[in-house]
């Protein structure tokens, strides 16, 4: 039944967010520590466990897949409720600070990508000049 999939997703989400909340309290941070990430890992593990045991039928999967498919519309709605006005009227310093943070992030993606690859293949890959 489709509701089983939705329930699986709900239980994983609630468990993950709760763990994240408790972790935050434990460390003393007023934020959820990786709740969504933990929930996602729970869903992945639960999904593969149930799949191996043959307990996941097509209908159950559809209950999760619907929400996965509704993700982009949710993101569009999220974009529509951003405080864009606040961002643009924050003044040149706020805008520049945001821009430079994003520029750094983009620039570091290929660097970190290379870094990890070199570490895992130090002996196998011949030295290059990059």
């Amino acid at each position: 039944m489709i509701i089983y999939g939705v329930t699986l997703l709900s239980v994983c989400t609630l468990t993950g967010i709760t763990i994240g909340q408790m972790l935050g309290k434990l460390i003393g941070v007023p934020a959820n520590v990786g709740g969504v990430g933990i929930a996602m890992i729970l869903l992945i593990l639960a999904g593969s466990y149930l799949n191996k045991r043959g307990l996941l039928d097509v209908k159950t999967e559809q209950g999760v897949e619907f929400w996965s498919a509704i993700y982009i519309p949710v993101v569009v709605a999220m974009a529509a409720k951003q405080n864009v006005m606040g961002a643009l009227t924050g003044g040149p310093m706020a805008i520049l600070a945001g821009v430079s943070a994003v520029a750094c992030g983009f620039a570091l993606v290929p660097m970190l990508d290379r870094l990890g690859k070199d570490e895992s293949k130090t002996s196998a890959a011949p030295a290059t000049n990059s």
Binding site: I72, V76, A87, G98, V102, V109
Partner: protein, 254 residues
């Protein structure tokens, strides 16, 4: 006529949001196919359109919640709120390949730390350039460049003025919106086309809404990988901001 419409959209707000967002999506994919031959992803156009509507919403109502401040469209707040957003993000994890995730694990952790440090110091550098010299303001603005949650949390903890805290929120908002809009255009340039770089990207950018929307507009398959690392970013920022980073700034600025 308007009053009865308002009554219906008030009572059935989520349904109204489904209708409005659905039409926005349909229009965006139509524009994508008709005018860009699919080169600019339909979801990228839809997100851009959403942001434009949010800007107009803010312009006409003076509120802070984009189109949600328009009574007819209040349901969009529910559809795009953190509850359904997190629920949908977790759902995307269903298609994740565990091995890919394990391989990118360490890079993801390094990316998280590097992402917070680089954003923080980028923000601090700009604040310095604009004449701020005290450690409290510099740390708060730097923390705002991490995310718009880390900024006020840090600022409140170390006693920043409310103007500086407002600036830090604005810096974080700019970052989040920029990531949403520009990611699809930079994706091929930075090799953002596989789970590994998506994990790194999520850790470096960290702003959950920015990463969620940026990856959705680039390649929906990458969403869970990026969002998984991004989920830890704000918390790590809140942890480091008022402690390590503030002590560091106080040491530098004296």
């Amino acid at each position: 006529m308007y009053e009865s419409l308002l009554k219906v959209t008030d009572k059935y707000d989520l349904i109204a949001a489904f209708a409005v967002i659905g039409l926005t999506m349909w229009f965006s994919y139509w524009v994508s196919g008709r005018f860009t031959r699919g080169r600019v992803h339909g979801s990228a156009i839809a997100i851009l359109l959403g942001l434009t509507m949010a800007y107009l919403g803010g312009l006409f109502t003076g509120g802070e919640k984009g189109v949600v401040d328009i009574p007819l469209l209040s349901g969009i707040g529910l559809l795009g709120g953190s509850m359904l957003r997190d629920f949908a993000i977790v759902a995307t994890g269903f298609g994740v390949n565990i091995d890919e995730l394990k391989q990118a694990g360490i890079s993801g952790v390094i990316a998280l730390v590097m992402g917070i440090l680089s954003s923080f110091f980028a923000g601090v550098a700009i604040a310095l350039a604009f004449g701020y010299t005290d450690a409290v303001s510099l740390t708060t603005i730097g923390a705002g460049a991490v995310t718009y949650i880390v900024g006020p949390v840090t600022g409140a903890a170390i006693g920043a003025s409310s103007e500086v805290i407002a600036l830090s929120i604005a810096a974080g908002l700019v970052k989040s919106i920029l990531v949403m809009v520009t990611t699809p255009f930079f994706a091929s340039l930075i090799g953002l086309n596989n789970p590994r770089t998506a994990v790194i990207f999520g850790g470096l950018m960290g702003t959950s809404s920015g990463v969620a929307a940026g990856l959705a507009a680039t390649d929906p398959k990458l969403v869970p990988y990026g969002c998984l690392t991004a989920a830890f970013y704000t918390a790590l920022g809140c942890l480091l901001g008022p402690s390590l980073l503030f002590i560091l700034m106080r040491g530098i600025m004296g």
